[in-house]
Amino acid sequence: MMKLSPKLSQKFSFFILFCATMLAIIPVIIIVSIIIKNGASAVSWEFLSSMPKDGMRAGGILPAIIGTLSIVACAIVVTIPIGVCAAIYLNEYAKDNLLTRIIKLAIVNLAGIPSVVYGLFGLGVFVMFLELGVSIISGALTLSIMELPVIVTTARGALNSVPQSFREASLALGVSRWQTIRYVVLPNALPGILTGSILSIARISGETAPILFTAAAFYVPHLPNTVFDQVMALPYHLYIISTQIPNMPKNIIYGTALVLLMLVLSMSLIAIIARLYFRKKRKW
């Protein structure tokens, strides 16, 4: 066999790496374009703002949109304060001891638990044990625990990127630890915390398994009034109309998928762009 020269073998290898990258990335483009191509015709103001009709084979997806937004809103109200506080504890207060190691292990473990197991947990604790029923609040609490490790990790990264010297300068003036964190560290970590939070909001908007037994309903003929109501949710709605309902018009399924995809992707895109912007603008 002929041995390739190092230069040629490098060229060849880089080409292979390039092809692999394309193989990883092209499916994204294919998925997005299939959905846009088939779904764009179904999406209209009417589709977004009216109730489903004819066993969901016609009409709009308003209750599913409202349902998803309310679950996600409740979830972030719970998870962001807790997550940011936990990140502050780990980054600013925690000593290098056994407790800290256990907390870190717990966070890694929480991040790895399958979403459907969170669903089981939410069903057992919130729906049954606390008797909150299948409701927005049960779903939101389930999602907030699931998202906690992600928020903690990104917030910690943001806090960690604030230079240590800022803390020293403030502490040396006699300002207390908490005041230093509140008025020097947090303001400078805020952009990072914010973009991380938007990314995780996007992610939980698309989750189905955790709300399957805790919040989502097959069909609800009215919009939710309180957080104790069952709701329809976009991802679950998409699952139902694509697998459970026979003779479903294709363009409604694609339209629903498009709305869900755009909701999630636009939030993520905003977060990614904002992060690049803040990194460039950073003052230190």
Partner: protein, 293 residues
């Protein structure tokens, strides 16, 4: 505000922060104990050995059969298939992004990978169902495209962002002195990558693979939509399978709350929890080792 009040407020807030810090431990314990409680209740009525090695999952028959061997094998089939596809592509992409691509392109590629992670699993499952499944059926000439193979492809796609991002981190944190040393000796960039960079980044890459596996085992919706959900032990990857996650998701709605079937699903949850705990623990060990170097 008086100084004492200020100090009191500071102390109070610090207590809250500490509480939030340990909350994740509380959650893990809560989750485990809830699964454990229901699982133990199940094992009182059904032998754990029959549960693990039993071949038949007939929750509705009389007497019901709760053997999850076929579900475990189903999970292993799709997971293994997904790894075989995703690991080489993922590592190669991570190498390309961190070592070969120019900086402007690198940022774009990383953003796309991040967007990929955000696509909801039902959307991926739906697209898999309408485009991948028919394709698999016609290419391989099999009666149905809802197979372990389709599941593997879909899951490979879903594990990709995890594998790429974490491997990329590991590759980028290889000290530049290592690379300079090799390059100064006249090695080409590719030789340096293959012999030095890959070796130094290996703990991180292994962690990335483990975390990818964790993600794949736990994935539910997409896998439920493309694998056919037949609770039988498959002989080839071109047969329908059913995973543990899909079983929980598909059947929980029909169970009597508190009944044997309900508890059997919690017992499956307990098995899943234990597997992912182990996988993530190993990944964390490798990540820790990579950092210490």
């Amino acid at each position: 505000m008086s100084n004492d009040l200020r100090k009191f407020k500071d102390k109070f807030i610090e207590k809250i922060i500490f509480f939030c810090g340990i909350l994740s431990i509380i959650f893990v314990i809560l989750i485990f104990s809830f699964l454990f409680k229901e699982g133990i209740a199940f094992f009182k009525d059904f032998s754990p050995i029959k549960f693990i090695v039993g071949q038949f999952w007939y929750p509705a028959s009389k007497p019901p059969q709760f053997g999850i061997l076929s579900l475990i094998i189903g999970s292993i089939f799709v997971t293994a298939g997904a790894c075989i596809i995703a690991v080489p592509i993922g590592i190669a992409s991570a190498l390309f992004i961190s070592e070969v691509a120019p900086k402007g392109i690198r940022d774009i590629l990383k953003s796309i990978v991040e967007l990929m992670a955000a696509i909801p699993s039902v959307v991926i499952g739906f697209i898999g169902m309408v485009s991948l499944v028919p394709l698999v059926r016609s290419i391989f000439g099999i009666p149905t495209g809802l197979t372990a193979f389709s599941g593997s492809i879909v899951l490979a796609f879903m594990a990709m962002p995890t594998i790429v991002t974490i491997s990329e981190d590991a590759i980028r944190s290889v000290p530049w002195q290592y690379k300079e040393g090799a390059l100064a000796l006249g090695a080409t960039k590719w030789q340096t990558i293959r012999r030095i960079v890959l070796k130094a980044a290996m703990p991180g890459i292994i962690a990335a693979i483990m975390l990818g596996i964790g993600r794949v085992i736990g994935e539910t919706m997409a896998v439920m939509m493309v694998t056919g959900n037949a609770a039988q032990i498959p002989h080839t990857i071109f047969e329908p399978v059913r995973t543990m996650t899909a079983t929980i998701a598909a059947e929980m709605g029909e169970t009597v709350k508190g009944g044997l079937h309900y508890r059997a699903l919690f017992a499956i949850g307990l098995v899943l929890f234990s597997i992912t705990f182990l996988v993530n623990f190993i990944a964390d060990l490798f990540l820790g080792r990579g950092k210490k170097k």
